[in-house]
Symmetry: C2
DNA sequence: CCAACTGTACTAGTATACTTAATACAGTTT
DNA sequence: AAACTGTATTAAGTATACTAGTACAGTTGG
């Protein structure tokens, strides 16, 4: 369910946050579904429980999950996660437009690019992974 | 010409790289124009020359500038920088489409968002008249 | 030639963020 | 009470960004 990409420059806890947020948005994890316990997931991923805890704390801060002491962490209402994603989309879109202009692209070219990407990229697909494995 | 944002989480050298790349793309810095010397810019920004050197090395790797030992660093052909930007745009657009779908947005909503951002976000990169798109 | 400028390379130290580790405490369930 | 759950704290290891100092190499102009 959760895969850590060690070639990713982003910290582990951030990858976990992103991944769970995606799983909630895709509907894989439904409302009130329990997340793996901090210690369990840490063992499964062979990382420290503190790192998981940090990710869960951030997810709770974002409203994607809620925690109940003694019971576990559970998926919150999807709307919170969806709203966050929409905010992220707006921020990223701003940067994208800026860069596209610097690259000398026209509005039509950008629209065309987005259009073709919209076809390729299937929403619920497991293509979420950053893809590409690298070894060292 | 160069401003460091210490509230930015990205490292200084990366900001410098991004800034110079933008200046080249915007046409502010023309081909073969000299960049500030490593020591000069370091003094001006009150940071270490090594940090500037690191930024310049990265810019050279990207093909945005070229270095001549004993003389200085100079702006390379804009095409290289522009091609790189276009590649970046494609990568970012891919991530954007994915997130937009997760946020439950439709293709039309994303197009509309990009469209409105295109108006707001002015960039001096319009060297040759790409203009002509219909706006009202 | 030589001083003063340029880029380049290298080592060492510091600061911060990420991660691990161990421990302790609090609440739930059986 | 035992075995789970979340939560908090402190310490230590590691990687990266940055600073600092030094040294070397090439260019330029007096």
């Amino acid at each position: 369910m959760i895969i850590i990409d060690y070639t990713d420059r982003r910290p582990i806890y951030e990858q976990i946050v992103e991944r769970f947020q995606s799983l909630v948005l895709c509907g894989v994890l439904e409302k009130d579904a329990p997340l793996p316990s901090v210690r369990n997931l840490a063992m499964e991923l062979s990382i420290n429980p503190n790192t998981i805890q940090r990710a869960y704390t951030e997810l709770e801060r974002r409203g994607v999950i809620y925690a109940v002491k003694g019971k576990g962490n559970f998926v919150a209402d999807m709307q919170a996660a969806r709203a966050l994603r929409e905010k992220e989309v707006k921020e990223e879109a701003g940067r994208l437009v800026h860069k596209a202009k610097e690259a000398g692209m026209t509005k039509e070219e950008l629209n065309g690019l987005l259009d073709s990407l919209w076809q390729d990229n299937k929403t619920g697909a497991s293509k979420q992974g950053v893809g590409g494995e690298a070894d060292d």
